[in-house]
Assembly symmetry: C2
């Protein structure tokens, strides 16, 4: 990477300078359009071309991940203008590094010929990564230009499920013969001329390409040329199957501090390699997506995509939220008679609902994290659940009493204070039970426990909060 900037600050400055150039260019063009197109004279066109050439230079001096980052920050028009300046040698990697929503938008804005050219510039394994964004006919046409064995590998890699190791693996593993010596391996490496990034181990295979072990590169430095690979290799290093869940593989990378690991098929044959850079990107994305999923958002949503599309993407969720809010409101409707008699009930009831919602969301956050990190399982779920209920009881008694006293002080009604205290305690217990129940049940059903948990919980704590408070009030106060 000759174009790697040394510091984060310098990188940010470079990106900022491109954004400034682009936005100035944008303004010139906008003004020019307003003046009507005829008036755009030759000088102006020339200046524009010069500016865009400068933009292209600066963009292509960045690493692909940084270009993707830049594109994600730009408004649509500027993004498209910038994307057109990205060189073919980097464009494919940029598509890969960009979030799915942005990559889709970029691919749609690119004509067939350029897309095909981008595919041709990509490594096979990187092609598998961006295949989702490329129209099928372009992909098929590109396959025709590949060597048969490469085509087979790419087609297989593209066919694995989205969250599997097969989708994340690359094809640049180096296999060495189990009967080789250190000297043979060194000769083989020198013939290759270079080693792919993240190559900290070579993979030792037999004549049928079945994985026999891994050979750390450092052993090549530390042992005599005559030593046999079979004597130096590690036989019990972690390996993965292409269908393995990416999350489990990522945890193994974290636990055992792996840099690279072999991927083998069900017959034990080496078919690919998983590297820490791909795993770290996955870990980051997965973790960042969690917060969005809890709110029912699509993590691949393009930050600067069109308003209308974004609005529609959120409809399902908004509709669901309105439905649950409406049902909770019907619970209040049942008690309209009680509210008419004692209007203070309407004033106080949102407090009960709000405390339940916030406490329940805390419990959910704790359980989602525990499940994600595998800290929660069948053996400890009971003590954990009991603890959360215990915490809710302690806090319900203490803070319920506080709220009871305040309600009494406000309305000079001791019975109202008692109802307030009891309802706070009871709704905190409801919040604990639901806050545990929702993520644990979702997890048992094989669903993502984060997805939509917030709306579901708030629905229950709102409805139950209103029901408990207004119900107790109706029975004991009226």
């Amino acid at each position: 990477m000759p174009d790697t900037p040394i510091t984060e600050d310098r990188l940010q400055a470079q990106i900022q300078s491109i954004i400034t150039l682009l936005s100035r260019e944008q303004m010139v063009t906008d003004a020019a359009i307003q003046q009507s197109t005829q008036k755009r004279d030759l000088v102006e066109q020339l200046t524009h071309r010069q500016h865009m050439a400068e933009v292209a230079n600066r963009i292509n001096a960045l690493a692909p991940a940084d270009i993707a980052h830049l594109l994600e920050m730009l408004p649509r028009d500027q993004r498209r203008a910038a994307w057109e300046q990205v060189g073919l040698d980097k464009a494919g990697d940029v598509l890969w590094e960009a979030t799915d929503g942005v990559a889709d938008a970029l691919a749609r804005a690119t004509d067939r010929d350029r897309l095909l050219a981008i595919c041709r510039h990509l490594d096979d394994d990187d092609l598998a990564q961006i295949a989702d964004h490329v129209p099928d006919d372009v992909l098929q046409q590109h396959y025709l230009s590949l060597a048969p064995e490469t085509r087979a590998w790419v087609k297989a890699a593209v066919s694995y499920p989205d969250d599997s190791v097969g989708r994340l693996m690359n094809n640049d593993q180096i296999a060495v013969d189990q009967n080789a010596t250190v000297k043979d391996v060194l000769k083989q490496l020198r013939r290759l001329g270079t080693l792919p990034g993240q190559t900290n181990r070579l993979f030792v295979v037999d004549e049928r390409r079945r994985l026999k072990g891994v050979l750390p590169v450092k052993t090549l430095l530390l042992h005599r040329p005559r030593a046999f690979v079979a004597d130096l290799m590690e036989q019990d290093a972690p390996r993965f199957g292409p269908e393995d869940n990416t999350g489990a593989a990522a945890r193994a990378f974290e636990r055992y501090d792996l840099v690279s690991a072999p991927v083998v098929d069900d017959k034990g044959r080496l078919i690919g390699r998983l590297t820490v850079d791909a795993v770290m990107d996955f870990v980051r994305e997965e973790a960042e997506d969690q917060a969005l999923k809890r709110e029912g958002l699509n993590p691949d949503e393009d930050l600067l995509g069109p308003i209308w599309k974004t609005a529609r993407q959120r409809w399902l969720w908004l509709g669901l939220n309105l439905l649950t809010a409406f049902i909770a409101s019907r619970v209040i409707g049942v008690f309209e008679g009680s509210i008419e008699q004692l209007v203070a009930l309407a004033t106080l009831m949102p407090i009960i609902a709000s405390v339940g919602g916030n406490t329940g969301n805390q419990t959910i956050a704790i359980f989602i994290r525990g499940l994600a990190l595998d800290q929660i399982n069948a053996s400890n779920i009971r003590p954990l659940a009991l603890k959360e209920v215990g915490v809710s009881t302690v806090n319900g008694v203490i803070w319920g009493s506080v709220m009871g006293v305040i309600a009494f002080a406000l309305y000079q009604n001791p019975a109202l204070g008692a109802v307030m205290a009891a309802a706070t305690l009871l709704n905190l217990l409801v919040a604990a039970v639901v806050g545990i129940g929702v993520p644990v049940t979702m997890n048992k059903l094989g669903r993502d426990p984060a997805l939509g948990s917030s709306v579901l919980l708030t629905f229950v704590t709102d409805s139950m909060g209103f029901f408990i408070f207004l119900g107790l009030a109706t029975v004991f106060l009226l």
Copy 2:
């Protein structure tokens, strides 16, 4: 790592078997205690000892990260029993791998002598990692046993701020002389006998230990023994300072697919090494913590810690939540007269508040993520904010109309329907503005934008929702 299990399944089975053993042991002891201690005969004690020896064997066959994982899942008594069985050679690494809350609890349950022995078994850089959990006097006593230069390094590393590169770096970098040849370096490495994990590059320094470049290990394999290090090294590879922010360093690791990078002091002298395993642990923890922080929870809270302590840890937050809910409730209090006249207002008002809260939380989630990933900055905050407001307007008009029609159908009151529609639209706009304003302002103030954003937002959307709806109703309906 000879004890690395090959698959995630096998690991989970091993952990499960230990948990089962421990919980059975626990039951035997509990029953024995109930029978009174005198009756516990020799046979029983022997069986207990045998069982615990078996537990110790199985625990110490696990990697430190897996032991930490196991301890985090165990209830307190079993956790302590299991911790006592962890060998001295692994105990320090286990403390490091455990979450802060659990590590603190474990360290507190360990006597001075054992803690000191654990420190002695640790590498210097790992000691810096766990120094926070070890009482100061134990640490001071341990320092006395270190060589002067090691002591200086450890003391310096411990002194860097919590979220800085200096805290995460290790001390096992390999420095090579800029005047050396490949042959000299190979000789130097063979003298060392082994290379530390994640060593994909050596660091080239001058006679004053100033960093001149990095030398990828693979170049040693690919070049002739007579080649000069100075000709092969990369001069512009990323380097970090010990005071650099860990988050920025992690982003550099992600972008440039780094495995290891040099850490240099302000005079450019090599003082340590940052490796991808430490960075990945950091990225994971930071991302997992975000969800908890949004709910006002302490990420280091021990999942299975005592109820009373956990309850108190959540007081500040619960108190704040009650205060904001109380203020929102006072907004309703102002309109009690209106509610007495038209009780339907009490029934419908929570819908407005709920829709605002959910929509605002979506906006917050999007902006926190955008800020965390550096996708949002001064140049694009305006179009982004305008877009969110646009989405809220579109959805407010459409779904506000739906709610208006439903309210009209329920109460046969066209004016009530119109107020409902207008209030939904207005509160969605409030939610968008606050959902953008809270994280962006927190970020500008240098605070963590996630921390407590949920409670603050809900406070505004509740209060404003009630105010807008009841205010409009009072003006136009009564």
